[in-house]
Amino acid sequence: MSLFQPILILSFALLTVFAEAAFSVPRHWLGAQVDLLPALMVYAALQADMFTVSLLAVLGGMWLDSLSANPLGVSILPLLAVGFPIALRRGLILRDLPFAQLVLGAAASATVPALTLLMLLNGGRHPLVGWGTLWQWLVMTAGGAVATPALFTLFAWFSRTLGYQPHTEVGFRADREIRHGRILK
């Protein structure tokens, strides 16, 4: 098993969480921070193995919670709840179509914060929830939807640039060509 893809996905998750905490441009302009982990989970579920999906859920969730006031571990299950079903049914999904990626990204980006909030409220926490949350949820959904096809393109470029290229076997070999000469009688 090549470790290139898991390492690439996890490194990107780490940088994503860092960027969400360090740069608050979307928060200033739109009133909400866009979370890219669900979009990344969609990519991992469609392109990587179950080991990577599980690792992304655990490490991505822990990294996000460690920088947030969330209880540690609360983001793991929502990420898994999105990634696991997609990974199981990925044979049925037209994963190379940008529209399919966009729809899955939107669904994942809408589901993960909703599930996280549900878990927080069930756990007796008091997150800031009100009518403004609906706007934030819409921004997160739209941001995740747009980011998913972009992530696919970015990772395809990374794989082409940094990954091993598959050795292509060409059927034609010049030294084995049978040349038919003129038949002399």
């Binding site: 780490l14 940088l15 969480v17 860092f18 969400e20 905490a21 360090a22 608050s24 928060r27 200033h28 009133g31 909400a32 921070q33 979370d35 179950m50 080991f51 999906v53 599980s54 859920a57 655990v58 969730g61 822990m62 990294w63 996000l64 919670d65 460690s66 920088l67 947030s68 006031a69 969330n70 209880p71 540690l72 571990g73 609360v74 793991i76 299950l77 898994l80 696991f84 990974a87 199981l88 914060p113 996280t116 909030l117 927080l120 756990g123 008091h126 997150p127 800031l128 929830v129 009100g130 009518w131 403004g132 949350t133 706007w135 934030q136 997160m140």
Partner: protein, 268 residues
């Protein structure tokens, strides 16, 4: 179809999540700090990168402008020194009067300044991380102010190199506040809207509270965390709630919580 290895992966992740969620609070806090310390080098790099353009701009600043800036700073320094002398004499007078009245002496505030290194990535909390930790003597529940002395929040967790500060307007930072009017009406600061970080609600006010827009709001000193007299903001709007049994006011915070760069941790 679920294969056996998929079952194993699913079970392992659920086990880890449940284990983390059921850990005692102290263990979770330590684990959180350990995990978040992974990001410290990245934050260091980011702040260095942000500082670079400013340093470059400083290095190419003309000599004439630098001299003008030095001149301005000298003048400001002189004014501050004069103010300090006046303040010291007022403080001495205050101490003498307190001694005469038999009141307890007020200990002066000491601020230790810190940089805001990150914000909460989740939209439903209002917290920031600062670059002061237990190494610098920071403890939980210490009040945090802006360099101008306006209320920002309080420290909720402390790591060795950094601390987490919960901001006013978060559910976990309720502040007892007092309005600067004749009746000194008191209430509790509670969260305002999700989108506007500059507004909070001053709730639990008496129905007879005589509040008007523009009145200053300060900390009341009740509750034991925030000392009395820290400026919070100004009353913007007052409305009657609970069928006229109580009042609630919208307060515009003095501190711009959305653009915090430097804060001061208050040491008593």
């Amino acid at each position: 179809m679920l294969k056996q290895k998929n079952y194993v992966a699913l079970g392992a992740v659920v086990f880890v999540a449940v284990l983390l969620l059921s850990l005692p609070t102290r263990a979770t806090a330590r684990l959180k700090l350990a995990v978040s310390s992974l990001f410290l080098p990245l934050f260091g790099l980011a702040s260095a990168a942000q500082q670079l353009p400013a340093d470059l701009a400083d290095s190419v600043l003309p000599r004439r402008e630098l001299l003008k800036e030095i001149d301005d700073l000298r003048r400001e320094n002189q004014q501050l020194k004069e103010q300090q002398v006046q303040t010291a004499s007022i403080a001495r007078e205050n101490d003498q009067l307190r001694t005469l009245l038999g009141w307890q002496r007020q200990s002066p505030w000491k601020l230790k300044f810190a940089n805001v290194i990150m914000r909460d990535p989740a939209n439903w909390w209002r917290t920031v991380q600062i670059d002061l930790g237990s190494r610098d003597g920071v403890q939980t529940n210490q009040p945090v102010l802006t360099p101008e002395g306006w209320l920002v929040g309080r420290v909720i967790s402390v790591g060795y190199l950094s601390s987490q500060v919960v901001l006013v307007g978060d559910q976990n930072c309720r502040v007892s506040a007092m309005v600067a009017n004749a009746s000194h009406d008191m209430g509790v600061l509670t969260p305002g809207g999700q989108l506007d970080t500059s507004l909070v609600q001053l709730g639990y006010l008496a129905s007879t509270a005589n509040l008007k827009p523009g009145q200053e709001v300060f900390t009341s000193g009740l509750g034991g965390i925030f000392p009395k007299g820290i400026p919070v903001g100004k009353v913007v709007d007052v409305q009657s709630v609970e069928y006229g049994l109580a009042s609630e006011a919208s307060v515009k915070l003095n501190a711009n919580l959305g653009a915090l760069e430097q804060v001061g941790v208050l040491f008593k």
